[in-house]
Symmetry: C2
Subunit: 180 residues, 2 copies
């Protein structure tokens, strides 16, 4: 069910409960049995998306279970992070979008944290080692990179970029933006 919700939210973040139910091949009432309100459904979809991205990052080895990146090459670690998480992020960004429309901003940020944390960590480490610019705020860098990921996901969803091209453009842009 969450599968269908994620896929549907990617194409239409305002999808109704009935649409999700139909896409999942399930009755609307049945769906209400699992998620009492639409808000709960969106929340669950967001959590699922975040969790998938987190697992994708873990199995790729881009980050450890503790959220720490391999030491030594912050820029390389950042590139690995993007390469590994990109497809999961692209699939989940619709759910995030849907969540932003119903949930308070603070909560979506909080639930979003597990996937943002590795990014912030690797950027912070990069700054400490001098590989990442330190003339801009860390929070801004995180926001800027997130925005670029979001933009790449949209371009890809619109068919303007294919998977490989999107990955290449995104990593090249992020590295240029972040490099000291």
């Amino acid at each position: 069910m969450l599968d269908a919700a994620l896929a549907l939210f990617t194409t239409d973040p305002t999808a109704t409960v009935a649409q999700v139910a139909q896409a999942a091949g399930v009755g609307r009432v049945t769906l209400y049995g699992h998620f009492p309100t639409r808000e709960d459904l969106v929340r669950a979809a967001l959590d699922e998306a975040v969790d998938r991205a987190r697992r994708a990052l873990e199995v790729s080895g881009a980050v450890g279970p503790d959220g720490a990146a391999p030491a030594g090459d912050p820029l390389g670690a950042l590139a690995a992070l993007l390469r590994a998480g990109w497809s999961a992020l692209a699939e989940g960004h619709g759910a995030v979008d849907a969540a932003c429309r119903v949930l308070p901003a603070g909560e979506v940020d909080a639930r979003h944290e597990p996937v943002v944390a590795p990014l912030r960590t690797v950027l912070a480490e990069g700054r400490a080692s001098g590989a990442v610019r330190d003339d801009l705020g860390l929070d801004w860098l995180v926001a800027a990179v997130s925005a670029l990921v979001h933009a790449a996901a949209e371009q890809r969803a619109a068919g303007l970029l294919d998977q490989g091209e999107a990955t290449r453009s995104l990593t090249a842009s992020v590295l240029a933006l972040v490099r000291a």
Copy 2:
């Protein structure tokens, strides 16, 4: 009226006709007298926002009436473009957001064009003169810069960045991303 609509859409892109009317200090029916449907209202707000941004760019001299940038220093022209248009863009981005939810993507892009065109032009000139990187697609660069502007506007609306800091972070980021 459009004033109120723009201000309101900036804080809530899903604002209803009744909310806009109240914010404008006007009866809902009166508002319907000027804009037959909500869609028309959003369209008008978008056009107003785009037009303001265009005028802001013109009076600042960042672009001429024909949309052409002063020749010679593409990167400087880009920075001037951002500096001049930034506040107008920040005020109007809510209207764009609202428009994206009601109007077909093609139309909002089309109406958005007058303000995107100078950006595309200056980037294209920069590529021709070797000041702007040419290993990424022009469309992607435009999208990436737009995404950064959007991100800066959101950070500012959320109070995480003040006006000056936002301008500085934005221009520094864009230049780093775009430079050859």
